[in-house]
Symmetry: C2
Subunit: 129 residues, 2 copies
């Protein structure tokens, strides 16, 4: 019985993961991990997710250089959601979103419409070469 | 076409939701909403989730008094995860977790073991009467 066995993996063997910037508290992104992804994350100290679309392990930053250094791994009271405290590396301020923004949560509901309220920090075309 | 139609609901008609304390940035809990839950949340300004276990709408705090006042509703770049900026009401400091703790993410991975690192602020037996 290891700490990985204590997690309540869903019917697809995945767990939802929230990545929060340690220094600011900003929620940067949300993704999924399988057992191997979480084991590797703990081992190497960098976020490794499971890409549901590509169906393979995804070492965040492997293409963009936007590595997530992991400071803390937390688990919720139902043992079925993981929270990472991270530093978003590769750019200052950190870019977690594939659109070149700090956080993936850049759309805000304003008077019944989703409005992008955070700036693009770097052109995605120069991030993914 | 409304803002609700822009959300990519999953195969069960749900979207994952992260509740973050506006004042502190603390991630307090993670839950799910269906279309009606999110519509009501936006309308009444208090978090209404979908309880997957009880299969019904769950106005957070309806039993405990620990209502979540919603300041902002955000959506991520894939339109499939919602982030709420909230104030956790009913106790000071706020209690979001059914265990009587501030946050549901009170377990931290320490040397290969999950350790509860945050205190119980109120006995759950006195919260749910």
């Amino acid at each position: 019985m290891t700490w990985l066995d204590e997690i309540r993996w869903d019917e697809n063997g995945l767990v939802p993961v929230i990545a929060q910037e340690a220094a600011t508290g900003d929620v940067l992104m949300f993704a999924w991990m399988n057992r191997e992804a979480l084991a590797r994350t703990a081992e190497c100290g960098e976020a490794v997710y499971w890409s549901r679309s590509r169906k393979k392990l995804w070492h965040k930053g492997e293409e963009s250089g936007h590595i997530q250094k992991v400071h803390e791994i937390r688990l919720d009271c139902d043992n079925d959601v993981v929270l990472l405290k991270i530093t978003q590396q590769g750019h200052e301020p950190g870019i977690a979103c594939h659109t070149g923004r700090h956080s993936c949560f850049f759309s805000k509901l304003v008077q019944g419409e989703w409005q992008p309220v955070d700036p693009v920090l770097k052109d995605p075309q120069t991030i993914y070469k």
